[in-house]
């Protein structure tokens, strides 16, 4: 895992966290809502490989059924540490072979830099490889598509094992001290409920990546000016990058 220098609290997603709290409250009132906390008991053997249809017991996240995933970070105190929440059927009890999948992953992190944080957390989440489980993700569309093998199901694999593996992987990142995950399989409508959070987070991450990957700091010509105007944390990043660019320019003289 990448060990990064300790930094301050990060806050670009603060407004979205309010929305997540509202969504979680709604989910908690449903009869198919469950939370598991005991990460220690949720270990599953690592493994990778392709799972073909004929080996598949359950497929999750077919875009036609509903597929959304997002990864956010915030001050560690705002995270319900260790919570693995599931709204809807677990794969072992699913009556259908295909289920929608929505996923919100939240890490409580202290990093000196938001982009470093994004890269380290992404590595931790996307790098999770479990035996009998295959996941493919499309970050720009926030979709996740998974298959769980028949062998894994008969060995007792559940979505809580997946949640546990993701949280454990996040906690292995230096700078991360808490993590939680909310998974939704209850139907397309419930998966769509998290869309405002997912799209809000994507807008912010896109703006952040653009800032870090370009050298032009002219805010007036930037497509993401409106995002920066809404989120003060992004403006701070931009100011910092401008200063860095200036410093480099001065050193070059």
């Amino acid at each position: 895992m990448i060990l990064l220098s300790k930094g301050g609290a990060l806050g670009i997603f603060d407004d979205l966290l309010e929305e997540i709290s509202r969504i979680k409250s709604e989910f908690e009132n449903r009869s198919d809502y469950r939370v598991v906390k005991n990460l220690d008991k949720l270990s599953w053997e690592e493994g990778s490989g392709l799972i073909l249809q004929e080996e598949t017991a359950v497929e999750l996240g077919d875009p036609r059924l509903g597929s959304l995933m997002t990864l956010l970070w915030c001050d560690p105190s705002r995270v319900e540490d260790g919570n693995i929440a599931l709204v809807g059927p677990d794969i072992r009890h699913a009556s259908e072979r295909k289920l929608p999948l929505g996923m919100i992953v939240i890490a409580g992190a202290r990093f000196s830099d938001e982009y470093d944080c994004y890269r380290a957390l992404r590595e931790a989440v996307y790098g999770v490889k479990l035996k009998g489980f295959m996941a493919r993700m499309m970050p720009s569309r926030n979709t996740i598509w998974c298959r769980v093998s028949k062998d894994a199901i008969s060995s007792g694999f559940s979505l809580f094992h997946l949640g546990g593996a993701i949280l454990n992987s996040l906690k292995g990142v230096g700078g991360v001290s808490s993590a939680e995950i909310v998974m939704v399989t209850a139907g397309k409508e419930q998966v769509e409920r998290i869309r405002p959070v997912v799209e809000g987070a994507r807008k912010l991450v896109d703006a952040m990546i653009k800032m870090y990957s370009e050298m032009n700091f002219d805010c007036e010509t930037c497509d993401y000016k409106y995002v920066c105007e809404e989120v003060s944390e992004l403006r701070k990043i931009r100011e910092r990058l401008k200063e860095k660019a200036k410093d480099k320019g001065n050193k070059g003289k």
Binding site: G49, L50, L52, Q53, E54, R119, R122, E123, Y126, R136, M137, M138, P139, S140, T143, W145, D206, I209, K210, S213, E214
Partner: protein
Amino acid sequence: MIVAICGKGGVGKTTVAAITAKELSEKKDLKALVVDADPAGGLSMALGLMPKKTINDVRKEIVEEIKAGLRDEKDLAISLDYLLNTAIKEYGNLAILAIGRPEDEGCYCRVNVILKDAIEGLAENFDIALIDAEAGIEQVNRKVLSAVDYMLLITDTSVKGLKVAETILSVGKRMTAMRGAGLIINRVRDTDIDYQTHINTPIEILGVIPEDETVKRFDEEGKSFLEIPPCPARESLKALLNRAGLLGNTVP
């Protein structure tokens, strides 16, 4: 193991690839990736399994992602895995990928390299990857097949067919990682001739496939070769594939 089926155009390469895919589909303990690398998509048609999306479509999607400029290399690599999987058509233990035909202009060198690496990475998940290569030498020359372990060269009884196979082998030795190669003489009318002594070639001759009415009928009627019943051509090919160790029994 990555196996490429190569040869001159019109020697029955795609039919051999289709029947090989049929044999692999019956080896339930093997996972096989079948790549239709002919831009015309002949193998997909011969198998009756047209993927909804081709590798060329994936390439376009990746280009769009790069143009949007909102994702770094890591995100693109993750996305590529996702997009490649959406391009796979499955049939039992077989996964079929079609290359498709590039229609738009522009340089795709970087994207092609990313895609080639991704396909090679995907192939590692399978016991065998079978590539029906474009006719002739172009793909071998452009290093598209650089990761190939074994080259299955197909010819008919013409001298031209044999010469093209020999050229492909000679270039393949320089441009690929191949560890072995074998020659199959296809559509042979007189199977009594001893081709091992009759033909002078540096390529190891695996054997011959007789001309076969069943194969001809399947071709003419556009039937899926995954439905082809036992027939002399199929039986001969199966024996040759076993001899080369391509059906999971021995490593060549």
